[in-house]
């Protein structure tokens, strides 16, 4: 649910990074945080366990600039990936305006990718949203590793509808901003359609 404030002239939107545990969601946000100017960002909040696994969510507010006198802010969230955090994952999706699905390209993580994508659809449906109608981008992460599934195959399995997708090495920053820009644009264009 975006929040348009005519009084303070702000547009706020919520983007959620979804995906299986350890696929690199938090790493995406950390890179974005590192590379944006101080005046464009708030604190990166991580509710994590002692071993740095996301417990509830990571949160990063970003103000990328103005459009026609309105300040555009994106609130980026990640979900905890582990299966047993299902309830928390669902809570974070509430009111989402756009979704990034981060897939782990490693062969042994394919089942986890498929399961997480299915989990995403089910959770969205419970709020009455459909993934096919939401601004949506898929990121194929960890392209630097040796044991990875070719992109063509990933596309076939995870992206039959051919939504925008990007190869990434989040730990080095590759593909991170491309992904963010795409979903951000889609969110604003969707808002424009509805107003």
């Amino acid at each position: 649910m975006s929040f348009i404030n005519y009084s303070t002239r702000e547009i706020n939107c919520k983007i959620v990074y979804y995906g299986p545990g350890l696929c690199g969601k938090t790493t995406n946000l950390q890179f974005i945080y590192k590379k944006t100017a101080p005046e464009q960002k708030g604190k990166l909040i991580s509710l994590a366990t002692e071993s740095e696994r996301t417990l509830f969510f990571d949160f990063l507010p970003l103000a990328l600039g103005d459009i026609k006198g309105f300040r555009v802010r994106f609130h980026l969230y990640t979900v905890p990936g582990q299966v047993f955090y299902a309830a928390s994952r669902k809570l974070i999706l509430k009111g989402v305006d756009g979704v990034v699905f981060v897939a782990d390209s490693q062969i042994e993580r394919m089942d986890a990718n498929i399961e997480s994508l299915e989990d995403l659809r089910i959770n969205l449906a419970e709020y009455g949203y459909e993934l096919d109608r939401l601004p949506f981008v898929i990121q194929y992460n960890k392209r630097d590793l040796p044991n990875i599934v070719p992109v063509g195959e990933l596309q076939k399995i995870l992206n039959p509808d051919n939504v925008p997708s990007y190869e990434a090495i989040a730990s080095q920053g590759m593909g991170v901003f491309e992904t963010l820009k795409d979903v951000g644009k889609q969110v604003l264009k969707e808002l424009k359609k509805n107003y």
Partner: protein
Amino acid sequence: MSELVMYEEEFRRIDEELKRLYQLANAKLVFLVDKNGQLISSAGDTHDIDTTALASLTAGNIAATGGIAKLLGQKEFSILFHEGEKDNIHISLVANKVILVVVFDQRTSLGLVRLRVKKSTQSLERIFEELDKKSSIEERDKGLTSPFSEITDEDIDRLFG
């Protein structure tokens, strides 16, 4: 999806109500957040406080306790209270869609905060009702005031460089 839209007039009234609550409850800080974690407005000394982060965490807190309530088979908790060493936090739901947070210390009392929150909640609920009506009327006469009526796809592309 239902968007929250805020207009000048209602924003001013919300702001005034928060200021009133801040003064009458003798609070340190009062703020209003939507359930998705976006700060709507605040009153009091927010100087060295990261209100954006505060808003997001508050909404997470409400969402989590709401989830717990559901598991226990009961309605959402409408009031949460956290007692700290120096500061206490009173969190409550308004119109089932926004979250009112009052931070206070020993200069006031939980009783007074409760009472003033109750009163302000009634006023705020009225404002949000009107806001709802207003945005559905605006929705009908689309395009008149929307920032998006003037925004082109090129503007959007340009924002992202």
